[in-house]
Amino acid sequence: MAFRAVAAVRLHYPRDLSWRRALLWLVAYLAIGAVGATLFAASGIYNVAASVQHFQITERIIKFVLNRSVAVHSPDEVPTDIGDDRLAQLGARHFRLGCAPCHGMPGEDASPVMQQMYPAPPRLEHAALKWEAAELAWIIDNGLKFTGMPAWAGQGRMDEVWALVAFLRRLPNADKQEISELAGGPDGIPMLADQSTVAQSCISCHGNQEQPPVSPEVPSLSGQPRAYLQRALLEYRADLRQSGMMEPIAEALDDAAIERLASRFAAQSLPVAQNLELTRGEVDRGRTIATVGHPGGNVPPCLSCHGAGASELFPRLRGLSQEYIVGQLHLFQSGSRSQTAYGAIMSTVARRLTAEDMEDVAAFFAGQPEARTAGR
C-alpha cells in the first residue's frame, strides 16, 4: 500500500510544481543579465588600464583558478638529473638572456618597462618554494594566459625547460656570488646586439677548443663543418628547428653574423678530453651500428652521412656527448626535429632505432673526440 501511495504522488509531481514557469524565469534572468553585460561592455566604463589593479576578490579568484590549473596540468615525473650542477648552469645562462629582462635575477633588477606590466612579472628567487618542480616546468613550457608569460618557443623541447627548472631550484638557497657563477661569471653573457662579442655568448654555453660545453646536453661546435653550423642557425632563425634557447639567439643574428660565427667554430679543432662520461651503452655495439648499420632492422650506417667525406651540410658526430646525441635522436624520433628536409631524412632513420641502439651508438661517437677533422 505504501508503495502505491508513493507512485501516486510521483505521477502528479511535475504538474504541481510547475517547473516550466521556473525555467521561464531563469531564461528571463539570463537574458536580462546578457543584455546588461553587453550594455556595460559597450559603454566603455570598464577600465582595462594596466595601471589600475583588479578588485581584491577578482585577484583572488584569478589566482585560485591559476593555481588549480597549474597543479592539475603539471607532469607527474621529474627527470632524475634535475639536481645536476651543469644542468643548472645551462638554465642560468638562458635565464640571464631570456628571463631576467622581465623577472630580474639576484643582484639585477628587471627592466623598468617590464615592471609596469600587469600583473608584474614576479621575481623568482622563491619560485621553487611556492611551486613544485613539475609545476614550474609546466608554466615555462606552456606560459600563462593574460599574464604576458609566453609559452616556450621550442616545441617539444621539455629537455630545455628542465634546465631552467634546475636553475630555479637553486635560487632560494644560493647567494649572489653562486648565482653569478652559475650564470657564467660576473660579466655574464654579453648582449647579443654587440656583434663583436657575440661569439662570447656562444662559448658561454657551447665551449670552444679549450673549454667543454657547459652541460652535456649542449653540443660542442668546434670542428663541425661550416655549412652545417650555418644551416643550423638559419633553421633556428626560421623556426624550423625547435629550441627555446637557440631560436631567440638566432633571431638576433643577421646573415653575415651567422656566416662569421659558423666559420669561426668550424675552424677550431675539437677539444680533447672533455666532460664525456661513458656510463651507459655498449661501445662495440655502437661501433657496429655506426660503421655497418643494422641491415636487418633497415638501419643504415651512421658514418655514411656523418663520417669524413660526407656532405658538409651534415654534422659530424665524433666527440659529441652521449646525452646530446641521444637527446637529438629522441627529437628526431618524436618528429620534433623533422620539419626541415634534412630532419625528415634523419627522422626516417631514427624511427628505426631502439632506445638501446641510441645509447650504444652515442657511446661510440662520444668516445672518439680525436677523430673529428679540424677545419671542416
Binding site: 641491415p295 650506417p301 652521412c305 660526407a310 656532405s311 634534412y342 625528415a344 631524412i345 634523419m346 626516417t348
Partner: protein, 330 residues
C-alpha cells in the same frame, strides 16, 4: 529489351575479354609451367561448358520432350549413372590432373641442377640474385632475366611479410614466406618481355610491387649475366661525375650498392646497373632521368611508406646531376 538488343549488349561486353591479353596475362603463355596451367584451364573450362550444355539440353527434353525420352531420363540407371557416378569420375580425373600439374614444378625442382636465382620480397621491391657458374652471386633488382629453353630454379624468400611471386606468362604464383625458401622452376619458351606482380597483399604499396621478366636467347643471357657481374661503369660526362660525388657525399651508399665504388649498402636495391633496367621503383616509374630525380625527392608520395627517406634537401641542379649519373649506370 528485344532479343536483338540483348545480343547487341552481349556483343558490347566482348572488348572486356580483350583485357585478358597483354604483358601480364596468364592466357598468353611464354613459359612451360604457364603453358601446362593454361592447358589445365582449357580442359577444365571445356569440360564445364560441355556439362553445362548437356544439362541444358536434358532440361529441355525433361520439360518439353516426348514422354518416352522423359521416362528414360527418370529411370534409376540414368539418375545414378549421370548424377553420382559421372561427377565422381570426372571430378576425380580433373583433381588428379590438377595435382599432377601442381606437382610438376616441384618435382622438376628436385631434379634441377642449376644454382638458380634467389628472389627476396622487400618493402616494396624485389631483390634478385643470380648465381653464376663460379659460385658468385650477382645482385640486381626488380627485373628477372631468363635464358629461353633452360629451366631455372627460383628460390623465393622474404625478409618482412608474406609476398607472393607471380609471373603469369611463366608460371603459377608461389608465396614468399619469411624464414623459409620456396622453390619454383620456370622455363621460358620464347624470348620477350612480360610483367609480374606481387600477388599477396603486403602493405600500402602492394599494388606498386611489380617487375619485368625478360626472356632472352641463352647466349645473349650468358653475355648479359657477365656484364651484370661487372662493376659499375665510371661516369664519363662532367655532370655524371658531379652526380657521383653528390651520390656518395649525401650518403646514398648507406643503403645502395654501386659495385666498384665505396657505396655498399644492402637496405635498398643494388644500383650497379640500374640504368639498364626497364623500370624504376619496381615497375612503378619509367627508367629515365626525370623519374630518377622525382623518385629521390618525392618517393614518399610515389610509393608511400617505402623505406627510403625523401631527399628534399637536394637542389634541382644536384638532382639532375645524380639522375644523370644513375641513368648512365648501364
Amino acid at each position: 529489351m528485344t532479343w536483338h538488343a540483348r545480343i547487341a549488349s552481349l556483343g558490347g561486353m566482348l572488348p572486356i575479354l580483350a583485357g585478358c591479353g597483354g604483358v601480364q596475362s596468364a592466357l598468353e603463355t611464354t613459359g612451360r609451367e604457364a603453358a601446362d596451367i593454361y592447358f589445365l584451364f582449357i580442359v577444365a573450362t571445356a569440360l564445364s561448358i560441355a556439362i553445362t550444355l548437356l544439362v541444358l539440353v536434358l532440361l529441355v527434353v525433361v520439360l518439353w520432350g516426348p514422354s518416352k525420352w522423359r521416362d528414360r531420363l527418370g529411370s534409376d540407371r540414368v539418375v545414378i549413372g549421370g548424377g553420382v557416378v559421372l561427377p565422381i569420375v570426372l571430378l576425380s580425373l580433373l583433381l588428379g590432373y590438377g595435382l599432377f600439374v601442381l606437382d610438376a614444378g616441384a618435382s622438376r625442382t628436385a631434379h634441377a641442377k642449376d644454382d638458380g636465382i634467389t628472389i627476396v620480397g622487400k618493402r616494396w621491391w624485389w631483390e634478385v640474385a643470380y648465381a653464376t657458374a663460379d659460385g658468385e652471386q650477382v645482385v640486381s633488382a626488380n627485373e628477372l632475366r631468363l635464358p629461353v629453353g633452360r629451366p631455372v630454379t627460383l628460390h623465393l624468400e622474404s625478409d618482412n611479410v608474406i609476398h607472393s611471386f607471380w609471373a603469369p606468362q611463366l608460371a603459377g604464383k608461389l608465396d614468399m614466406i619469411p624464414g623459409r625458401t620456396n622453390s619454383l622452376v620456370v622455363e621460358a619458351t620464347e624470348p620477350g618481355v612480360s610483367r609480374g606482380q606481387c600477388a599477396e597483399y603486403c602493405g600500402g604499396a602492394h599494388a606498386l610491387m611489380a617487375f619485368f621478366i625478360i626472356a632472352m636467347p641463352p647466349d645473349e643471357y650468358d653475355a648479359w649475366l657477365q656484364e651484370e657481374a661487372a662493376p659499375a661503369r665510371a661516369p664519363e660526362t662532367g655532370i655524371a661525375q658531379r652526380g657521383q660525388a653528390l651520390f656518395l657525399e649525401n650518403g646514398c651508399g648507406a643503403c645502395h650498392t654501386v659495385r666498384g665504388t665505396q657505396a655498399g649498402g644492402t637496405i635498398g636495391p643494388d644500383l650497379t646497373h640500374v640504368g639498364s633496367r626497364r623500370s624504376l621503383a619496381a615497375a612503378t616509374l619509367p627508367n629515365d632521368a626525370e623519374a630518377f630525380a622525382r623518385w629521390i625527392k618525392d618517393n614518399q608520395h610515389i610509393k608511400p611508406e617505402n623505406l627510403m627517406p625523401p631527399y628534399e634537401n637536394l637542389e634541382p641542379d644536384d638532382l639532375t646531376a645524380i639522375a644523370a649519373y644513375l641513368e648512365g649506370l648501364d
